[in-house]
């Protein structure tokens, strides 16, 4: 194996990494030049053949998604760039935007050419103020340089990229919640089908892609599909439906480690390598008790599951929901899983958009049951009650509109299945946990 060389993060530590001038000096916008000389269909085909799968959480093959757009549509077709990044533990999109905005803008322009979209909206979570200002400057540079605007890249066509700031709601990351929010409404996810590719933003065909996905597009055009496929994990020959886990991936590691950070590695690195080698081990000389493999929606790996490769298939084989955002959060052996799970449940209860009853009520009651356990009034039956509530909410059981609910249920299922003795011990001995914060009601 040749030494892995980062590409997505290759420029972030350079001086003035966000400036157009330095980006160009490093060969920037040559991929876009190459792409606009190709037909849109050929660019789509290239991305498809590279096997790129979406980095936003669902892992859907990007090129395939682009082919779902209706042929010969009179337009406009829209691109929505999903920069709502709010899954707890996740911060790789922020690093890409703050330190290398042109890499993203190049990917956006290439995607717009491929899907024949004249307009991209970049939906940015409000809290990313620095990203907002960096992107605003970068976009202005692009207009001034003819990379965007009328006659972009000398194509004779117009291309606009607009920044649109969110207002602090996790659900705006769900692609149809994002679309509703952009349209000026409450971010209530839509029932699918129709999928956005058929009827999306402003009722027009729309592609929603994650920031990291679009950054990968830039490099696929620059280096070719074969390069992309030389990194990562090939499809499982036993599984005809596996599309593989190709390409470099940004893993973020946070929580109880010595050096939290964002690491670019070939898809399929193990949780153990990430923690021990890249994040320099569990802090205070302790051991990991539980590890979130890809944002809290994906659930937990236990300490004996850390050799799981974090590709699209690995976490699922250990009962987790999936790879998610590849955001690893490490919990040490001195921390109570009751407290960790309470924190997760409280998040989802706060962020449920409320339109589906099983999700709105389920997330609330799971939080309340855990609250009761934490005040020392838990009953052993509460654990099965939690599992029952968790098992009844989500797209998987078919009771809700979007996947927030599945993500809310998963940490509950994994925590109770994998750490049941600890929960039982906590309840049996009447342990309690104090919330340090007093909330006004």
């Amino acid at each position: 194996m040749p030494e892995f060389e980062p590409v997505l993060l290759a420029r972030i530590n350079k001086p003035q990494s966000a400036a157009l001038e330095t980006y160009r000096a490093d060969g920037g916008y040559e991929a876009l030049r190459k792409a606009v000389a190709m037909s849109p269909g050929d660019v789509t085909e290239l991305v498809k053949s590279a096997g790129l799968r979406g980095r936003g959480g669902a892992g859907f093959p990007t090129g395939v998604k682009w082919t779902f757009l209706p042929k010969d549509h009179p337009g406009p077709i829209y691109l929505c760039v999903n920069a709502d990044e709010s899954e707890p533990g996740t911060f790789n999109n922020r690093i890409l935007m703050e330190f290398d905005p042109h890499q993203l803008l190049e990917g956006i322009a290439i995607a717009c050419h491929a899907i024949r979209s004249p307009t991209a909206y970049l939906y940015l979570r409000y809290e990313y103020g620095r990203s907002y200002r960096v992107l605003e400057t970068a976009i202005q540079e692009c207009y001034a340089a003819g990379i965007l605007g009328e006659n972009f890249m000398g194509t004779g066509r117009r291309l606009d990229v607009h920044l649109h700031r969110g207002a602090g709601a996790y659900i705006c990351g769900e692609e149809t919640g994002l679309i509703e929010s952009l349209e000026g409404k409450r971010a209530w996810p839509r029932i699918k089908p129709p999928f956005p590719a058929i009827e999306g933003l402003f009722r027009k065909p729309t592609i929603v892609n994650n920031v990291e996905t679009l950054c990968c597009v830039t490099h696929i055009v620059a280096r070719g599909a074969e390069w992309f496929k030389s990194v990562g994990i090939a499809p499982d020959p036993q599984n005809p439906r596996d599309a593989g886990s190709y390409g470099p991936k940004l893993y973020t590691v946070a929580g109880h480690v010595n050096e939290p950070g964002c690491f670019e590695l070939p898809m399929g690195v193990t949780a153990r390598e990430l923690i021990d080698v890249h994040a320099k081990g569990v802090w205070k000389g302790r051991k990991a008790k539980a590890v979130v493999p890809g944002g809290i929606s994906m659930g937990f790996l236990s300490a004996d599951e850390l050799d799981t490769p974090l590709d699209f298939n690995g976490p699922g084989k250990r009962g987790c929901l999936g790879l998610g955002t590849a955001a690893v959060v490490v919990v040490d052996d001195q921390t109570s899983m009751v407290d960790v799970l309470y924190n997760c449940c409280r998040f989802f209860s706060h962020e449920s958009c409320g339109q589906c009853t099983p999700c709105r009520e389920g997330t609330l009651w799971m939080t309340k049951i855990l609250e009761r356990i934490r005040t020392g009034h838990g009953r052993l039956e509460d654990l099965d009650l939690l599992l029952e509530v968790a098992g009844s909410m989500g797209i998987i059981p078919g009771t809700t509109i979007c996947g927030l609910s599945d993500g809310a249920a998963w940490p509950v299922k994994n925590a109770i299945h994998k750490f049941r003795p600890e929960f039982e011990e906590y309840i049996r001995t009447g342990r309690t946990s104090r919330d340090p914060v007093a909330y006004a009601h």
Binding site: Y126, G129, A167, A169, S181, V253, C344
Partner: protein, 157 residues
């Protein structure tokens, strides 16, 4: 008397060409008004609706979905400080930091100091977990904040 100045109206109108309809300007308009007036009052909602050719109930519906925007009963202070309470921060003292911030400022999360200087909020994951625990001041993130570090930040506001 209108509550939206001509300047604010101009900034809102300048966004129209970015979108195929005016309704899509709702969120950006709410941000502009909220930043400027530190609240979105019922009258402001009416005036935004008027600018966007919407019913005030439509603007109110959108605004009230996002807990982000404050109405006239709960105006924002001069600065807004958010302390993250989600998992990566909580594992590294985020909730203790939030409790400290409450003590220091003498408010509960969601409240504004009596002098109107700071509104304190809890945040869910700020997307800066490598710097846990972290604090957002207005929209600038500060990482690895100790209790003393918080006092220092608060002093500068």
């Amino acid at each position: 008397m209108s509550v939206l100045s001509e300047g604010v109206r101009e900034r809102i109108r300048a966004l129209f060409p970015k979108y195929p309809n005016k309704r899509a300007v709702t969120l950006p308009a709410l941000h502009i008004v909220h930043d400027e007036l530190r609240q979105v009052s019922t009258e402001a909602i009416r005036e935004i609706a008027d600018l966007l050719d919407l019913h005030p109930a439509e603007v109110h519906d959108t605004m009230s979905f996002y807990n982000f925007f404050k109405d006239e009963k709960h105006p924002l202070g001069k600065h807004r400080v958010w302390v993250c309470r989600s998992i990566a921060c909580a594992l590294r003292g985020g909730e203790e930091l939030l409790a400290h911030a409450c003590d220091k400022l003498g408010v509960h999360p969601g409240e504004t100091t009596r002098d109107g200087r700071v509104t304190l909020e809890f945040a869910e994951c700020l997307g800066a977990c490598e710097g846990a625990p972290c604090v957002l001041v207005n929209d600038e993130c500060h990482m690895n904040i100790s209790h003393e570090g918080f006092d220092e930040l608060a002093r500068k506001l």
